[in-house]
């Protein structure tokens, strides 16, 4: 696969890992946070922790849109879809996320019309094909996904589609990073920046992280060589005492972002004054809502939204894991009451949530001791 396989070349990966070991030395302990859930997933999937030196600690950030979605919002969406003739459409990622009465898949088994879609435009297509039903698209995602939702809504308006609405749970990444940096327990040296969000927002929005918060940040791609190269760049910055925003993912990320995407978002969305993030609490100006011009496509304007609020059990330490203060296995419920089969917290539900990723890919490795004889 072009533009994929080159960045998975084993020899080059080994070589880059060697360079990381050389740059990292032995004295200093580095704490780097990868913000994006996609990076968390990639790190585990490619087994990158196995080839990094022990003094580089990767901390998983809150960039997992499923993980930060409060359970009450899932309940709200499912409650609306209980109405007869409503089709609940969502990405595969949402299908096993539990609400208090079960997940979308469980509702489907009980008779709700639930469809998995790969694209918001597939949800709109469902609306065209089922004129006697209402299609409710449960939208999630950061700025990577929001423009596609926006464009789909614009297309729906242009076509005069009457039976389509979006239950909008899009959130924005900068407030999440701010919340991390504002957290008193946080000790971080640098950031591995979200590569695909940056194809939309560009690299400028991170400048305050380097200039004000004084942490280097490298916007990174998702293949093993991308992530490793970003770590090299961060180490080079830290060794030289520098603090800037760099773009490792140049082949795809434009420094100024994607104007058409930003325009589409501006056309359809407005910022909510505040939004609840599971594990992080209420954050102001951190989520998107469909504006009045497109109200007919806003599920929350067309339907009665129960506004259910569900608090997580006190024992669940999702917030601390989300902020990177605790490692997944340090949460008291990890692997016991909270597993991928019976997830209690959001981080165990999504396959890119740090707890699920750790559980699925990693935690039994601890029993193995040294892994250097593997390859």
């Amino acid at each position: 696969m072009r533009f994929v396989d080159e960045f998975r070349e084993p020899e080059l990966i080994s070589k880059t890992a060697e360079e990381i070991r050389r740059l990292a030395g032995r004295e200093r302990h580095y704490r780097m946070m990868e913000v994006c859930g996609g990076h968390t997933h990639a790190i585990y999937r490619f087994g990158l922790k196995d080839i990094l030196p022990e003094n580089i600690e990767l901390i998983h950030g809150p960039g997992c849109p499923v993980c930060v979605l409060p359970m009450g919002r899932i309940d709200d969406g499912l409650a609306i879809a209980q109405e007869p003739d409503v089709i609940f459409a969502a990405f595969g990622d949402m299908m096993r996320v539990p609400g208090t009465q079960g997940s979308p898949l469980e509702h489907k088994a009980r008779g709700m019309d639930v469809r998995i879609v790969y694209s918001p435009s597939d949800a709109l297509k469902l609306a065209r094909l089922n004129p006697d039903k209402h299609v409710m698209f449960f939208a999630i995602g950061f700025e990577t996904t929001a423009p596609s939702t926006a464009l789909t809504i614009m297309r729906a308006k242009a076509e005069g589609i009457q039976n389509f609405s979006v239950f909008c749970n899009h959130v924005t990444i900068i407030p999440a990073i701010r919340a991390i940096l504002d957290s008193p327990d946080m000790r971080l040296d640098a950031f591995i920046g979200p590569g695909h969000v940056s194809t939309v927002i560009g690299c400028r929005p991170y400048e305050w992280i380097a200039e004000n918060a004084r942490k280097p940040i490298v916007v990174s791609g998702f293949e093993p060589l991308d992530i490793l190269q970003s770590i090299v760049m961060l180490l080079q910055q830290m060794t030289a005492g520098e603090c800037k925003v760099e773009n490792q993912y140049k082949r795809v990320v434009p420094w100024e972002g994607n104007n058409a995407a930003l325009k589409a978002m501006g056309e359809v969305f407005q910022l909510r004054p505040y939004f609840e993030w599971r594990g992080l609490g209420f954050i102001s100006q951190s989520a998107l809502k469909i504006n009045d011009k497109y109200a007919e496509f806003d599920t929350e304007a067309r339907f009665e939204v129960p506004g259910i609020r569900v608090t997580d059990p006190k024992a669940a330490q999702c917030g601390e894991v989300l902020k990177g203060v605790l490692k997944p296995h340090q949460c008291k419920l990890f692997g016991r009451e909270c597993t991928p089969e019976h997830p209690i917290g959001a981080l165990m539900v999504s396959s890119e949530g740090s707890c699920a990723a750790y559980y699925n890919y990693e935690h039994r490795k601890a029993a193995m001791g040294s892994l250097t004889s593997i390859a």
């Binding site: 696969m1 994929v4 084993p10 020899e11 990966i13 080994s14 890992a17 859930g37 996609g38 997933h41 585990y44 999937r45 490619f46 087994g47 990158l48 196995d50 080839i51 997992c64 849109p65 499923v66 990405f91 595969g92 990622d93 299908m95 096993r96 898949l105 469980e106 489907k108 088994a109 469809r115 998995i116 879609v117 790969y118 694209s119 597939d122 995602g141 996904t145 093993p224 991928p340 089969e341 999504s350 396959s351 890119e352 559980y359 699925n360 890919y361 990693e362 935690h363 039994r364 490795k365 029993a367 193995m368 001791g369 892994l371 250097t372 593997i374 390859a375």
Partner: protein, 339 residues
């Protein structure tokens, strides 16, 4: 009975962890008595001293037909294969149809013809059958169940307890073809590819393997729902050893790989209907692969890993550059993701 879930969910039928919980927690204790031992693909019954293997499987597939096959073919090959990987040659099948009222006759006829053809090709007799019809809205047009009996082949003893550190893990061919074909055929994801189901009887290849390496064959399984990951996890659990798989050795077609990357799926979790896994002692591994590669349909068979002591009870996939990841059974069916 140890099964604690209050009701049956879709996940319980997906072949992963939830299925295992249901089988081990409810069916096994109530039907098989105390501590039946590891559950295999088929059961062994002694009839007047003659060992006979018997197995059953239900086929619930949407859509009924897809590139490379249809539910009828799956229903024959699936059961023949369960017997094959238990070291048995299928002699006869009986079939049970649950049909939805309103099912057009040509569709039923097509599936029955497909079954007859698959049975001829597999060299197995369809000896008897039964039909029930349920109301419109049930049975997704048709459900087919086949039960098969076969004679155990001499010279092979399939037993997870016989697996040893150092044994080689062999895969008969590329994985993921069937599951991805079905996913694409459902049409919900709007993807197109030149891909077809790999449904076939694996008995000829199994026979080849046994002839070349019989005394060294410890275990076999056909990785259907849940994929190769699930089968290997079951073995790892049953024998308490570690299954180490070399990622670069796993045969996967480019299109399957492309679809999996696009949808965020792992080929190791995708269903197959024409492949099998085998664990073979190191002395016999080369002979096994050589024989398989020379046999029709076996040219892509390869050693994909080996059994080690650690990580015990777990499947570990390693890369050429020294990275590794645990591959667990899924809870339910694999779902496409965008995150």
């Amino acid at each position: 009975m140890r099964f604690r879930d209050l009701q049956i969910e879709m996940a319980h039928g997906a072949g992963g962890k939830a299925s295992r919980k249901l089988v081990e927690g409810l069916f096994a204790p109530l039907l098989f008595g105390a501590m039946p031992g590891p559950l295999g693909d088929s059961a062994r019954v002694d009839i007047n001293g003659t060992p006979v293997a018997i197995t059953t499987d239900s086929f619930v597939v949407k859509p009924l037909t897809f590139p490379g096959g249809s539910i009828g073919e799956l229903a024959v090959n699936g059961t023949v294969n369960d017997l094959a990987v238990s070291g048995a040659k299928a002699e006869a099948l009986v079939v049970s149809y649950v049909l939805e009222a309103g099912l057009p006759t040509p569709i039923l006829e097509a599936e029955v013809r497909a079954m007859a053809k698959a049975a001829r090709e597999a060299g197995v007799r369809i000896a008897a059958g039964d039909t029930k019809v349920v109301e419109h809205g049930k049975a997704d047009q048709m459900y087919i169940t086949t039960t098969g009996i076969g004679r155990l082949i001499h010279g092979v003893n399939i037993d997870p307890a016989s697996v040893r550190v150092g044994d080689k893990i062999i895969l008969s061919g590329p994985i993921g073809d069937h599951g991805i074909t079905i996913l694409l055929a459902r049409g919900e994801l709007d993807l197109e590819a030149d891909l077809s189901s790999d449904t076939r009887s694996v008995f000829p290849l199994v026979e080849t393997l046994i002839r070349a390496a019989g005394p060294g064959v410890r275990w076999m399984r056909d990785p259907t729902r849940g994929g190769a990951a699930t089968s290997l996890n079951e073995l790892a659990r049953d024998c308490g050893l570690g299954m180490v798989v070399f990622e670069d050795q796993i045969p996967v077609r480019d299109t399957v790989r492309g679809a999996c990357e696009l949808l965020g799926l792992d080929p190791l979790h995708i269903a197959n209907e024409g492949q099998f896994l085998a664990v073979v002692s190191p002395e016999y591994a080369d002979a096994a692969i050589n024989a398989l590669n020379l046999a029709p349909g076996g040219n892509e068979a390869q050693v994909i890993g080996e059994v080690r002591e650690q990580p015990a009870g777990t499947v570990l996939v390693t890369t050429l550059y020294g990275g590794s990841r645990i591959v667990d059974m899924l809870v339910g069916d694999p779902l496409p993701r965008i995150c």
